[in-house]
């Protein structure tokens, strides 16, 4: 009886704690969105004079949209670079033996946990030494290199789940390695690759620590926002942040539904077998 009571007390304490942590995680985001509609500017309680003016200002703001365009270009290119190298890296880690493999694995994964400043500065030194002019290209190289870690971990996780017998069957039936890769390995990794691509795109769009050191004349969106923050804060920044947030949310929902559907199909497939 008393054990049941303490159990109940424990679970309601945990529920309360969970609610408080979620509030802590979401309150700043809610405030951010709310004040993007506040006519009086950022701050001031209670908010009043709700307006869409800041969104109008934002849509007329050429510099912001230029930086958005730059960020999208960088993110797409970084996605291509890190997938093009992360996929073979995952395959190599999964199925090849070569001297220095352990070091290679650590080196590839290091940027995942390393503070961005170290990745950014060490690349800055490389570009300085080779007289490479800083531009969006250097940022692409920076993001592409740092995010190979994400592509590798995602694809490697996919490979671990892959049924090796399918590949063996394909090879036994006379397909060459190239055909087997295109027809068996790649389709099986589809979900991991799309997941990695979405993650890399979002991470690159938001990245600031590495870009901070590799930036040339053209700003990415986070750096444009950063520059404005140093001059003072306006709800226009709240407005653009709200739009980025909604965009990220849509990406997650898209990814989640895609995964559910694919998993449902996989279940259906196993039932048919």
């Amino acid at each position: 009886m008393s054990a049941g009571a303490t159990n109940k007390a424990r679970s309601s304490w945990l529920l309360f704690h969970a609610a408080a942590v979620f509030a802590f995680l979401y309150l700043p985001i809610a405030v951010l969105i709310l004040y993007s509609f506040n006519g009086q500017g950022v701050g001031g309680f209670p908010p009043h004079n709700l307006t869409l003016d800041w969104y109008r200002t934002l849509f007329d703001d050429g510099a912001i949209w230029d930086s958005v365009l730059n960020s999208v270009q960088v993110a797409l290119a970084a996605m291509a670079v890190s997938l093009a190298l992360g996929m073979p890296a995952a395959l190599a880690l999964d199925r090849a033996q070569f001297p220095g493999k352990a070091l290679f694995r650590r080196l590839v994964l290091l940027p995942l946990i390393l503070p961005g400043i170290i990745t950014g500065l060490s690349l800055l030194m490389l570009f300085k030494l080779t007289n490479t002019k800083l531009s969006l290209l250097t940022i692409i190289l920076g993001h592409g290199t740092a995010l190979i870690s994400v592509a590798t971990t995602e694809v490697f996780a996919g490979l671990q789940k892959l049924d090796r017998t399918q590949e063996e069957a394909s090879l036994d039936l006379g397909a060459n390695y190239w055909q087997t890769f295109w027809r068996i390995t790649l389709p099986n990794l589809k979900l991991s690759i799309i997941g990695a691509a979405l993650l890399i795109f979002t991470l690159s769009m938001d990245e600031i620590a590495v870009s901070f050191f590799l930036i040339g004349r053209d700003n990415t969106l986070p750096l444009e926002i950063w520059g404005r923050l140093r001059r003072g804060i306006t709800p226009e920044i709240n407005a653009v942040s709200t739009i980025i947030f909604l965009f990220s949310l849509l990406t997650i929902v898209f990814w989640y539904r895609l995964r559910l559907r694919t998993e449902a199909n996989a279940d259906l497939g196993s039932e048919l077998l």
Partner: protein, 282 residues
């Protein structure tokens, strides 16, 4: 089963790329730390230990490093205190809403770091949301100015950013605990508290270590939150590096500090890997 050619094709390109864009830059950072800057602001490629001597002799660098580690330690502690019970709740009490709540933990990770730091700035400022709210409900008559531009603001913001990073590995570790171990513990007469401390907690340590490492290492190297919210008393080691690579123009000294940070980070990773292995259940 894979041919030699296949293995070469998948191994060579990433190996070459990683060597050029990761290994060489780290080696370059190492070299830079032994070089110096001449009076005419050019980098002299002569090898000496002056930068390291300066780091040891001048307390300003030590103090900044210690302050950064103290900030990172607090972020780590608070993230664990917030994250562990939540992960525990998700794993054992959430029931049917488990997936939804798990997604709710992940969503803030997709919100830009900069945007969240900015949100805290608008909340904590002297005419910010919190201060005007407090005045509105007459809890205070004038703005509390210790909220923003202080180490407190940096710790709060970084805790907000890294708490989800600690929740995820702890949750994964808790999910991996075979439920029949817990039942066995109950059947053998252990109280729920005993079961937690003797069975569940030890088995979740690898997740705790992974989450703690993430929170500590990433906070340690942060320079944007201190710039945005820290004020003079919230300056961290990376801020010094940024100024050495910028206005102060002393790349070699900056490289020496970065290398020190890299060393701290890599040894922490090594340590946490050992710990995770020691405590992992297999």
């Amino acid at each position: 089963m894979f041919s030699r050619a296949y293995r070469t094709v998948v191994t060579a390109p990433p190996l070459v790329w990683v060597t050029v864009f990761l290994l060489v830059p780290y080696v370059l950072m190492f070299c830079y730390s032994f070089w110096s800057v001449s009076l005419s602001q050019t980098i002299v490629h002569s090898w000496n230990l002056d930068n390291y001597k300066e780091l040891i002799e001048k307390p300003v660098y030590w103090q900044a490093l210690l302050r950064s580690m103290w900030i990172a330690a607090r972020v780590m502690l608070f993230s664990l205190l917030l994250g562990y019970p939540l992960a525990y709740f998700l794993s054992f009490y959430a029931g049917k809403r488990k997936d939804l709540l798990y997604q709710l933990v992940i969503i803030p990770l997709w919100v830009s770091y900069l945007v969240r730091a900015y949100a805290w700035k608008t909340i904590l400022g002297s005419d910010g949301v919190l201060n005007t709210l407090l005045q509105y409900v007459h809890l205070t008559s004038h703005p509390l100015d210790f909220l923003l531009y202080s180490p407190f603001a940096v710790v709060l913001t970084l805790t907000h950013i890294y708490t989800p990073f600690t929740i995820l590995p702890i949750y994964a570790a808790l999910e991996h605990i075979p439920r029949n171990l817990i039942e066995a513990s109950h059947d053998l007469g252990a109280t729920p508290v005993q079961t937690f401390w003797k069975v569940i907690f030890p088995l979740s340590i690898p997740g705790v270590v992974a989450g703690a490492t993430f929170a500590f290492v990433l906070s340690l190297g942060d320079f944007l939150a201190p710039l945005l919210l820290g004020g003079p008393s919230g300056i961290m080691i990376s801020n010094i590096v940024v100024s050495l690579f910028g206005a102060a123009y002393n790349w070699p000294l900056g490289a020496a500090i970065s290398l020190g940070m890299l060393l701290v980070v890599v040894s922490l990773l090594f340590l946490s890997e050992r710990l995770e292995k020691k405590w992992s259940f297999s």
